[in-house]
Symmetry: C2
Subunit: 221 residues, 2 copies
Amino acid sequence: MSTASDTAYEKIRHFLLAGGARPGDRITEEKLSEIAGVSRTPVREAVRRLERELLLMRTKTNRIMVPDWGQDEIDEMFTLRQMLEGHAAERAALRLSLEQIDDLARINAQLHEAVALAEPDIASFLDANRRFHEEVTEAAASPRLTQVLAMLVEQPVVLRTARGYSIEDLKQSARDHDELIAAFRARDPNWARAVMGSHLRRAFHVFAEAMSEQQLDCAAE
Amino acid sequence: MSTASDTAYEKIRHFLLAGGARPGDRITEEKLSEIAGVSRTPVREAVRRLERELLLMRTKTNRIMVPDWGQDEIDEMFTLRQMLEGHAAERAALRLSLEQIDDLARINAQLHEAVALAEPDIASFLDANRRFHEEVTEAAASPRLTQVLAMLVEQPVVLRTARGYSIEDLKQSARDHDELIAAFRARDPNWARAVMGSHLRRAFHVFAEAMSEQQLDCAAE
DNA sequence: AGCGCACTTATTGTATACAATTTGCTCTCG
DNA sequence: CGAGAGCAAATTGTATACAATAAGTGCGCT
């Protein structure tokens, strides 16, 4: 589908992820409609969507603003994901068909490939990673859970720090997924939940470390 | 604040909760704008909001529709609330000031009053109940958590079955809150989480029972 | 100089007209 | 009689103009 509202969403999202505006900045609907190349009406819908995903916020007087993500908030986000995706993995373990599990294995093979190279293909890694998690969430067969997780899985956070990840971190992620697949094959919801939990929690710590280094870099400049 | 978009939200919400449309029905934006008494533009914003809260859904071709809540979905909703509000209670136990705890006690006193009457005051009960849970959620000091819970706490579900609750069920709810307050005073996050968990899980079972009786009633007609 | 009040500008909110899409109907052909 | 193409009506999506509200600006007053 290619409604103006969707393209506005995509373009503004891209603009934000590319760092087109600093945290704390205020942006007008008009500027955004220039960026998106459509009128303000669909832009407003896109903004609401981005607000829901917490990529945009509003001031007390309803001005649009780019939020700044503190360490605490990111911690909390990963904690919520850990709970909810852990729950999703648990349910998925009881519901995934053998075909779907094979499919997950196929996706994860791409993930392994992307990091096996001398120069890891970050974009490909992130894409496969996203698809993997989405398929697990989908298999949980809980529309509300899916919707809630969509709010929390912030690509910006992932993307902004992907370069900070070491190759070993990425390989470990792929191995986590392998273990998750093993848990699915064993039909062991408890195992699945535990693996998903540690997977996400480690991701947070890798992220936090990369974050603090990045801040040091900034300070050095 | 009284923007047209907000009044539209309120009126449409009221319309839906009052049972103005049956699950599965499709409603046009125009009908909704008649109900709300404003033009389609703010109605569309209100619809997006109601969609987010799952009071409305869309068909595959973007028609607006009233969702029907199956037993499974309601189970899942309560399960998610149990996880998330349990987490909120845990955090709240570490953060609530003594004044805030006193405030919770005051709110819960109203709750006790509402059910102490010969003819319990359901509206007053629900209002106090909502404020109690909101204050706990707020005290968790996690904007994301607050936002996610706002999606899940469906007044319609609560409201539709409030009449099915026995006086004893309502009194038990108030007692649960008492115990939660005790956990807060003891600064015991683990206790708080456990109490919140059982509180919500019992609420689900009471609800499920009321639901099945209601279905029997329907079948009898 | 500092403070507050009117006034100008900028920004968001709403209505309306029109375009694009979907739905449902009818009429024809097999 | 049923299936399908094509048209008409209904419905959602978008742009634009205007209204309401918030932010900024400069003036006069003390």
